[in-house]
């Protein structure tokens, strides 16, 4: 936990190609001093978990706009668990109706950032949970 920079995987699960938000977040986190692994579009749950493992990341950020989050996120959480990287902090963004938040929290997603969230808020969130994690 004593490494210099927080490592974040920014991933786009599913088939949707709208990567504007993911790229903005990725760049904002990088500008905030984090190390970013950006996967590009069309990542399967298996691929995402594999990269999270290989790259030994602290945080996985999932961006999805196609509405497939309720189907794909459980598969991703499952894959992370199978690969033994379920200790990472998983956060999500995109077009996700508020009524889906409880189900997503329940499956272990730690935070959900809707459209219009200032990027600084996400930076702050990650810094805060990483600091808490370091303490515990």
């Amino acid at each position: 936990m004593a490494r210099a920079r927080i490592r974040v995987l920014v991933a786009k699960p599913g088939l949707d190609g709208h990567d504007r938000g993911a790229k903005i977040i990725a760049r904002a986190l990088r500008d905030a001093g984090m190390e970013i692994i950006y996967t590009g579009i069309r990542q399967t749950p298996e691929m995402i978990a594999e990269v999270a493992l290989q790259e030994d990341v602290d945080v996985v950020g999932l961006s999805i706009l196609s509405g497939a989050h309720l189907e794909l996120f459980p598969l991703i959480m499952e894959q992370l668990k199978q690969k033994g990287v379920d200790g990472v902090i998983v956060i999500a963004g995109g077009i996700i109706p508020e009524e889906d938040f409880p189900a997503l929290y329940h499956m272990g997603i730690k935070a959900i950032f809707g459209p219009g969230t200032p990027t600084q808020q996400i930076v702050d969130y990650i810094n805060k949970v990483m600091a808490e994690k370091a303490k515990s």
Partner: protein, 517 residues
Amino acid sequence: MVDTLYTPEDIAGLDYGDSLGYPGEYPFTRGVQPTMYRGRLWTMRQYSGYASAEESNRRYRYLLEQGQTGLSVAFDLPTQIGYDSDHPLARGEVGKVGVPVDTLEDMETLFQGIPLDKVSTSMTINATAPILLAMYIAAAKRQGVDIAKLDGTTQNDILKEYIARGTYIFLPRHSMRLTTDIFAYCSKYLPRWNTISIGGYHIREAGSTAAQEVAFALANGIAYVQAAIDVGLDVEAFAGRISWIFQTHNNLFEEIAKLRAARRLWAKVMRERFGAEDARSCMFRTHIQTGGSTLVAQQPLNNIVRATIQTLAAVLSGIQSLAVASYDEALCLPTEEAVQLSLRTQQIIAYESGVADTVDPLAGSYYVEFLTDTLGAEIKRYIEKIDSLGGAVAAIEQGYQQREIQESSCRYQSEVESGKQVVVGVNKFTSPYPKLTRLLRVDPGVERKQKERLARVKGNRDQAKVVASLKNLEEVARTGENTMPAFLECVEAYATIGEMCDILRRVFGVQREFLVF
């Protein structure tokens, strides 16, 4: 930067005939038809499709009843990327952002009771455009419709998929071949079909500026025309069936000027670069979809205001076809009420606002003409830059457009975060707001049902015919003959989209992302 004041001095150099001319005449700055909306209103065509062919068919019939004058089909992502609904990669995506179409049967259901010789249909489909067009043709034939009468558009604009939208499958050169196969086939058999709709919409959606939106789309257009000429097509035989899709954002005058500049520039490209003589080959005919990414989740009714401004921008710029994004789109798929309001927005502007009474009403405005020239010059510089990189395809492969867009996108984001760019309800004038209570959710059972349906179709078809038609497709794909007849044969044998694309993936190879970050 906009000046405080524009006066006659700002357009002192404007030569009416050369810069504007009369509507319906080269260079078409004032519009491609002489009477524009006085002759016929633009086509009102809401983008729509979700869940299943039955459900989408119901929505289309509803929209036609409500006074819509054309259809616009949204396909789900597996259909756009060439996977059957039962493919592992289709998990969770079936019926989500559009209608799933696995086989001809889905296409038949989609247009059940809608006579295909009476309606014009636009299909947002790119990598798999020839397959979906083949299905549309086959469905029309089954309705007994003369296919020469088919009116509509296949988006068929693969280059912007590499740049901005992501639903490409193959390497660019193979994709370009499929594109030009459609050009060639339609110029023979579907003379009224718009073979391509070259898009700036998604480029803007990815975060570009207005000038980039037009410039990158025009550069792609140049690449398609060149590709078609290179495979031996006569420019006059296909150029008249090229159409366009752009978006309108909130900046009313910039959007109007952008589209007027685009019309003038494209006319000059066609005549000066490609030697097109026919006026029709020089006409820039465009569909507009108001800007989806300008809509926000906060205070959703505010989006009706934005969509109205954007609709006005579209109509005032002189267009052929229009879809208005729905106020709930930042939250969910558009509900029936929201899509009705989008259509009503068009109708109020068409019938109550008076803006359709005269052609190009802003012509002559010191500001608008100045801005049209200024944006035109900026667009031209981008096109020259892309030319210098070897054209649109080469520039994409180098990541040029992608990088430019990302710069713009990040600049905009930082302007929003600093408050320099106000987004009402998001970074200024925020306040609690009543939640929308009626959100449209796709029934989670849709995917299972679609898989069952696919299994049933596969169980009932003549397997030998399928195998033979797919074998033929593979051969045609390898030899370089026009693929359209082969697709048609496969489609009519109820081969699935996944079966056809698997063959093409094998023959053409698969494009990985041009990762720019």
